[in-house]
Symmetry: C2
Subunit: 477 residues, 2 copies
Amino acid sequence: MNTSSPAHRADAPRLDLDIDRVHALAEDLLPVYAQIRADAPLPDASLNGKLSELTGILHELHPADMAALLESLPPKERVLVWRLAGPEDDGDVLLEVSEAVRETLIEAMNREEMLAAVEDMDADELAELADDLPHQVVYEALQTRDEEEREQVKAAMSYEDGTIGALMDFEPVSVRADVSCEVVLRYLRRFDALPDHTDKIFVVDEEDVLIGVLPVRKLLISNPEDLVADVMATDVVRFSPEDDAEEAAQAFERYDLVTAPVIDASGKLIGRITIDEMVDVIREESEADILNMAGLQEEEDLFAPVWDSVKNRWTWLAVNLCTAFVASRVIGAFEGSIQKIVALAALMPIVAGIGGNSGNQTITMIVRAMAVGQLADIQAGRLLKKEVGVALANGLIWGSVMGALSYALYGSIGIGLVMVAAMTLNLLLAAAVGVLIPIAMEKLGRDPALGSSVLITAVTDSGGFLIFLGLATVFLM
Amino acid sequence: MNTSSPAHRADAPRLDLDIDRVHALAEDLLPVYAQIRADAPLPDASLNGKLSELTGILHELHPADMAALLESLPPKERVLVWRLAGPEDDGDVLLEVSEAVRETLIEAMNREEMLAAVEDMDADELAELADDLPHQVVYEALQTRDEEEREQVKAAMSYEDGTIGALMDFEPVSVRADVSCEVVLRYLRRFDALPDHTDKIFVVDEEDVLIGVLPVRKLLISNPEDLVADVMATDVVRFSPEDDAEEAAQAFERYDLVTAPVIDASGKLIGRITIDEMVDVIREESEADILNMAGLQEEEDLFAPVWDSVKNRWTWLAVNLCTAFVASRVIGAFEGSIQKIVALAALMPIVAGIGGNSGNQTITMIVRAMAVGQLADIQAGRLLKKEVGVALANGLIWGSVMGALSYALYGSIGIGLVMVAAMTLNLLLAAAVGVLIPIAMEKLGRDPALGSSVLITAVTDSGGFLIFLGLATVFLM
């Protein structure tokens, strides 16, 4: 993709081309940051050249590209680049970056810069930023708005993260049903600009209650004399401010929506939700699942201070240590057997490992099916049967391979047979627990993705050691 | 969300309400499927009631909801529901379902039904389905199209999966730059319907070369006498058919696009790409990462036959077994030490486990940063330094906790100290490898997500055993 001359090829829809250059320039200019800030002359000409090159690149960037660039920079270079960027897009950039990076950017701004950045923002945007700005700045910014906008900011801030209310904007364009399409077109022409993503006009009655939508696609092809009431669609996907954003995103995805109305309890049109917010929700939801599975609590600034990273990660490490300790005590209970047949110590991690791997496959598949709403309660038994079948097949195949190898290594048929049995049993355990954990989590009203991987590994580790060492103790001692 | 009367609350943006009921009905009707197919009378009245209830529900479903429902059903119930659904949406449903499920649905259709389903499809949709349909059906379907459409189907089928060419449609509405907005509005009114998601009209010259876009938002507020050339935007995000779909999706996300033009090598407008396709790409990309990390090759039909599932999962299980075998041989090399101090066998999985968990945190963070293009080469050294710092902090903290516990359990200061040292060293190893593996994978032109989790666990397992048993052998024997 390119955004300049039509002659260019569309083969680089990202800023990879510049990013390394910007990094190099920022690193070179860092030592003279004090002079740059003070507008003092730089020590040599080459640095002056680099400074104007960097400033030139930065002033051409789209705010979204600037945000991505800032996220990729270490803290000091990030502040340098942020100071060199033109201030006109400050507000847009602050809205685009992740929360962790936003904090570091705001720290580098003074009161006037912050006020300038939020000056042209819509109420919903100001509300989004308000938590990260100093109270005094938010207060002053609100003073310049009229009563209606202040109410909108307050309303937007009152909704919890992850609800439609926190994501909606207050820009729905609405018309009455009893006017003609011609009147609607004339009315629209009076706007200086229509809100982003306007793909439909909302139709309301005299009480502002939503009664339908007029898709722009239909408006454009309609006869000018047609009444809105005759052209509009009445089977409208609509949301309440309290609705869950992830479920709304699924609806946008499923019904291919671009915008949707938000109504209050009495059916009045109060706002609008747009596809760009929903795409962010979809992206963040998948990110959160991936991070949770790996035991990270939240998205980290890549260059966060060491101590922040330690805090972000310690919970899951602690959980992991507890479950590892339990597994260790299981082994401890069989020290006598290990002392007699030391080969058991070498073979036991294989049994635990394959159980963990296979269990993670099962649980991931089921968690994903749940996330997209594909799993009905009635099917748990059927899924369990299937997964047990898969586990049995894998257990017999791979168990036999490993049993044969163990026999070859240690020359004991007993060890080989215990290996086959233990691997098969641990895979069956993994299948059962892999189906049951996410279903139980969902029943308890918890997110099945969160920690499911740690839980299953805990079961297959301790369980694997117990099964393998237990069988060995019974049959080989 | 609801799609019926405005009085309803918007609190259930999914079909959860019906899904369990549909499952129950389908299960009850399954035994009399033969009679239903033959239109024979059902044995009792209650079954007749259930049949009409189910048919009623199915006939009201949006094709996207029908697709989700079919994916959630086991094979036999799926065919029953598919046969009871009204045939008018067959084509849309086939386009919505996953490929695995699509195959099972097509198997249940005869030639006439397939031809009816694809009859009204656009060229790009027919191309998407063509691989899954019998050759004869595709051939007959193409016979009913004109030459231009046949060419479009052929073109769409010629592009590789994962490129823009395979996802674009052939419906761009275009105008010339030298006409007035009034003329454009009149031209649009001649359409029976505008393509989905039309948020901009493409502006081309007499050679069909793209020279700009006219956003509908601007068209609606423009003065009717204004020339398109004066209103249009010329800094247009555009794509080539060969472009990577994931990178295009990032551009859609970053620049909040709804549609974008696709041009050929000479700059001619040949098609259009829409946000709904890009949302699917974003969703699938994250899904693929999650599945890959868990060692599943591709999305599975939840109710796939056991043998299909075994095949989908066996590669990663095999890789896991190989790495587990290596780790086992590392332990085997220290059998003498374990025989002398059997406590080592119980403690070694703790060292390996925490390394794996911590390494997975590091690698996940870096792989995610790479996926969104946030990581420049120049930063590898800096990241490594930070991760090593985090590992050192975690190693000393958690190592001391476990060292103290080991001392308390086994009464040996030596074991406690070896534990502290081994955990710290294995965490440092995990940090180093966690940074270096994804960077090396990227340098080699491979997807850093694929298998990174298995690789890091392999290193931290074998490495952890080696470090712990090695230290114990040197200092405690």
